[in-house]
């Protein structure tokens, strides 16, 4: 065990290497560049490959090839680059190929800017590409958790044969924090009998990596199998953290960077006598609806706080099923909400009769 100071971007790289990822295909974009710098040096040390592609479109398709050949593989990008990968993600999901994709979100829409944002929530959790499919989406809120969740992402990807997205923002990507690097263990990788690695590996059964089924009955059959898988993920993988929820009447809901600010807001509100609490989703898909509804039983209202226009609001509304109102406070375009602003919103709700 050792304790080192790391940037979020570097922690993703180290987490990937520790998870046994040996292939990275990517294209430069701020604010995730340090991840590529880290892996360009680190992967060759462990016999791996960092390859700079000609575009994000090429990157995600290289990931498709590498994953289909049986490798643990990842790519990373931010906003515009992730948009370019959507077709590829749909193909990966359709062909049931595991991979890890990192999105260090930046201000948008359009070219936007390189400041932190959470405005890709819809894109990540509701589809993004074409067709019925889902990504597993993980939202760390510390450099330590970036490291841990990146490792977990590879396990989930292989277990479910599905792309997993690790989603954070420019602040998480750039900030440095101490992390505990656990002693490396010898990993056992799951067998991949479906990989199309050449007949030499499976002389009696040809393997095809494919998402094309011309006959609608066969295409629907794939969709049904995907739905079964997604149902299993919804039932098993929901994850969130609660803070001071037991008697909380105003419950803030926030993920990633914003969840850290909201934790400070909750503490401040408590000092002022306001019974506030916090739910922090760790999995954005599957959204931790069960835990949110169960953990915040005394809530009289919810306040989602996000760096977007309110993309998580409807997931919270669905989780509480109209029992209590759900409000939203957000900053956009690369602006980060500060504790004072959020506290004012909490006070408004409290004095405005929402919690009477």
């Amino acid at each position: 065990m050792s304790r080192v100071l790391m940037k979020g971007n570097e922690a993703i790289g180290e987490g990937a290497v520790r998870a046994g990822c040996r292939y990275f295909f990517g294209y430069p974009i701020t604010p995730q560049s340090e991840l590529t710098h880290y892996l360009a040096k680190r992967l060759p040390e462990v016999g791996g490959l960092y390859l700079q592609a000609e575009s994000e479109v090429a990157s995600i398709n290289m990931v498709y090839g590498a994953s289909g050949a049986g490798a643990r593989v990842m790519t990373s990008s931010s906003g515009p680059g992730i948009s370019l990968m959507q077709e590829g993600l749909s193909f990966l999901a359709g062909a049931q190929l595991p991979c890890v994709v990192v999105n260090m979100m930046r201000g948008g829409p359009g070219l936007g800017n390189i400041a932190p944002s959470q405005a890709d929530y819809f894109q990540a959790t509701k589809g993004g590409g074409h067709g019925d499919y889902r990504l597993i989406v993980l939202a760390p809120n510390s450099v330590q958790e970036i490291l841990d969740l990146t490792e977990k992402a590879f396990e989930l990807a292989d277990y479910y044969r599905n792309p997993v997205m690790v989603m954070a923002d420019g602040i998480m990507a750039q900030m440095m924090e101490p992390v505990e690097l656990k002693d490396e263990v010898q990993r056992k990788f799951p067998p991949k009998p479906w990989a199309a690695s050449g007949l030499i590996d499976h002389p009696d059964s040809k393997k095809v990596i494919n998402s094309c089924f011309v006959i609608p009955e066969e295409m629907e059959d794939l969709n049904l199998r995907l739905r079964d898988k997604y149902t299993q993920i919804i039932n098993k993988e929901q994850d969130c953290e609660g803070y001071l929820l037991e008697d909380a009447e105003i419950v803030l809901v926030a993920f990633g960077t914003v969840s850290r600010i909201c934790r400070a807001v909750v503490e401040k509100a408590r000092q002022m006598g306001i019974p506030a609490g916090l739910v922090r989703p760790v999995t954005l898909w599957p959204f931790p609806a069960k835990l949110l509804a169960a953990g915040a039983g005394k809530a009289k209202c919810f306040l989602t706080v996000e760096m977007n226009m309110g993309q998580m609001v409807e997931d919270v509304q669905l989780a509480v099923r109209g029992r209590v109102p759900v409000y939203h406070y957000g900053r956009m375009g690369g602006m980060v909400p500060v504790a004072r602003e959020i506290l004012q919103e909490v006070q408004k709700l409290y004095s405005g009769g929402e919690v009477k």
Binding site: Y23, F25, L49, L51, A53, E54, S55, V57, A58, S59, N61, M62, V63, Y64, G65, A66, S67, G68, A69, G70, A71, V73, E87, G88, F91, A95, A196, S197, G198, L199, I200, P203, K206, K207, V208, I209, N210, S211, C212
Partner: protein, 248 residues
């Protein structure tokens, strides 16, 4: 009696879905024969494109990938980098390779990826019903150039071999046709060379195959063969465009 001619074992014994007179079947067969003759069926991995030949994944009895439109060279890059001892090839049409996939094939070539591209140029989009391709020749009538391809509206056709030849990463480039027995014999020889270049690890190899599309050209199979000879070959001269020094 000795059998002197048979179907390649790695080509599935089913009726292909290709139209009468289409030469995809000939090109499939040549690739299959080359793979068998080189004895690489256990290590060959193919990437099928989007377009008429998407079902190549079903016809070749080896491991196959179905890639997204135009991205086969990127998919092949991913496979080859993970499994460098496998023989990885793409089979792509002109829309797939020379229009939507321009970025991918040019960069796979300039990186010198040790993969082989079999590029079927029939000067038209077949699967979608006969629209202009990047390789549609000047004056050619298609569904989207109803008055013939003209330079002011649609620009000029792309000559892929000529375009790739200056790139240092390319090791072998050839253009062949499959419209006559003589052309087919040469086509097989050059396709074999492209795979041999990959086996020797020399860099990117590509064989452009001039092919017919009677259905969307609006011609009979025989007329199509004649049209290829008279209209396509003059614009797309056959031959080897790049050879690794001292190999063949």
């Amino acid at each position: 009696m000795k059998k002197v001619f048979k179907r390649p074992l790695i080509l599935k014994d089913v009726p292909f879905h290709y139209c009468p007179g289409c030469t995809h079947g000939v090109a499939h067969r040549l690739v299959a024969e080359v793979i068998e003759e080189l004895g690489i069926q256990d290590t060959a991995i193919g990437v099928a494109p989007v377009g008429c030949s998407v079902f190549a994944m079903d016809y070749f009895e080896i491991d196959m990938f179905q890639g997204s439109h135009g991205r086969a060279p990127a998919v092949a890059t991913g496979i080859k980098r993970v499994l460098p001892d496998r023989v990885v090839f793409t089979y792509q049409g002109d829309g797939d390779l020379a229009a939507i996939g321009t970025g991918e094939f040019v960069h796979a070539a300039t990186r010198g990826e040790k993969i082989t591209a079999v590029f079927i140029n029939n000067a038209i989009y077949g699967m979608t019903g006969g629209q202009m391709a990047p390789t549609t020749i000047m004056g050619q009538v298609t569904k989207t150039t109803p008055f013939g391809r003209d330079r002011d509206t649609s620009g000029y056709p792309i000559r892929v071999c000529e375009m790739l030849a200056p790139l240092e990463g390319t090791a072998y480039l050839a253009r062949v046709a499959v419209h006559t027995p003589k052309a087919i014999i040469q086509a097989k020889r050059f396709i074999k060379r492209a795979f041999e270049v990959q086996l020797k690890g020399l860099g990117f190899s590509l064989v452009e195959v001039l092919s017919t599309c009677p259905t969307n050209w609006g011609l009979s199979p025989l007329e199509a063969v004649k049209w290829l000879e008279e209209k396509m070959v003059p614009y797309y001269p056959l031959g080897e465009y790049k050879l690794p020094p001292g190999v063949f």
